[in-house]
Symmetry: C2
Subunit: 211 residues, 2 copies
DNA sequence: TCCCGATGTATCAGCGCGATACATCGGGGG
DNA sequence: CCCCCGATGTATCGCGCTGATACATCGGGA
């Protein structure tokens, strides 16, 4: 209760990046940008408090690096500020592994899905499949809602609004097809191991090839 | 200053919806949902404070409607809470027209573009074109940044992250093509039919927009 | 009858963004 | 030679917005 549970996506991303190699805040934020895209990138106003909390939870350690690169005897300025390098602790690695293994709804909700996908290379194949399929049915279900809402009000809306929604709808449909491609790639890839692709693990009725 | 300037998108949307007809908060929020899509829809935690502020700025009036629909003599309950209907004032209509005429960068930034497009039926054709073209170049410019960033790091990222960014890139490219279609539709519309574009008059005469 | 979902108004904790502040450093132009 | 500028680097604050929650009425189905 008192843990205050920050949004897990930033925590997850930070742990994953620091699992590759220790680094300082500025560098971390840049990597965050290239991980999640220029959008989705978190600001320092989120990053630094998050780092602070992770240190408090003993998932990270922070080492102040004086960065006395030269033999310069530390001039008049008493405080020669430099980098603060963050590093994963054992608990941190454990926590990251636990988050990697997460395959429930929290893994495929809008905000979280991107990060989980970005770390797929370090994720178990079965978990990958569950997340992809969960994401797919989540999208499909939203799609159904939007579609009916759209047809119900189709005649009562002007052409521009309609066009806006049509484009949004097509984007979502395109994302479903993209997910299908990823899923089928995963299944194909598994041919080297025992493949149980015919089991009925579908959470929702998914017709093969809607159209 | 003291005006506190709330995010203009909600204000714009609310004014636009109330310009069609007065209504109460609950109804307003539903329309907001079908205007901007289920995502993008604002929560009551945003809507009610916004309404309060707009009333304080004399852009809206709020009328408490007892909702004694029938001749029912108002049974035992002393407090028969009912709807609070919001209505545009003259200043409100003026403000909405001013926002409709907005064609600067604020009109085509990510957050604002959707609302402006949703009200295109009530927007001057020239303003429509400027907004569409502004939006297009904004997207194109971001696209260029992402593309170079992607090729620079192409080899240093695992396949899943790459795929994620590739899909995002294609979505943006698709949106550009979509804008191109809208722009060309606008231009075509102007050459074929001589719209009474030069007249003043009607504030809201909606011409049948392209399919 | 009782519960449930829709209608209806309203608030609150907390999160994340954007702006801002401060400080060091290398380099290019006046 | 200096000064500005942009990149590097850490950090905070205001505030809009979300999701949860609260409360109240109503119609309808089990």
């Amino acid at each position: 209760m008192s843990v205050s549970r920050r949004g897990e996506v930033l925590e997850f991303a930070v742990l994953g990046l620091l699992a590759e190699s220790p680094m300082h805040g500025y560098e971390l934020r840049k990597r965050l940008g290239s991980l999640l895209g220029p959008l989705r990138a978190f600001s320092y106003g989120s990053l630094y408090p998050c780092l602070k909390e992770l240190v408090a939870r003993d998932l990270l350690t922070q080492d102040d690096v004086p960065a006395a690169t030269t033999s310069e005897p530390l001039r008049g300025r008493p405080s020669r500020r430099s980098k603060i390098v963050y590093r994963l602790t054992g608990d941190g690695k454990e926590r990251f592994q636990a988050l990697l293994a997460e395959s429930g709804p929290s893994a495929w909700e809008d905000d979280n899905f991107g990060v989980h996908l970005a770390f797929f290379a370090r994720t178990d194949r079965e978990v990958r499949l569950r997340i992809l399929e969960g994401r797919r049915s989540r999208l499909e279900e939203r799609l159904a809602t939007v579609r009916t809402a759209l047809t119900r009000t189709k005649e009562r809306v002007d052409g521009y609004t309609l066009e806006l929604h049509r484009h949004g709808l097509e984007s979502a449909e395109r994302e479903v097809r993209w997910l299908d491609k990823l899923i089928s790639a995963e299944q194909h890839d598994s041919t080297t191991r025992r493949n149980r692709s015919t089991d009925r693990s579908d959470t929702t009725r998914t017709d093969p090839t809607p159209r």
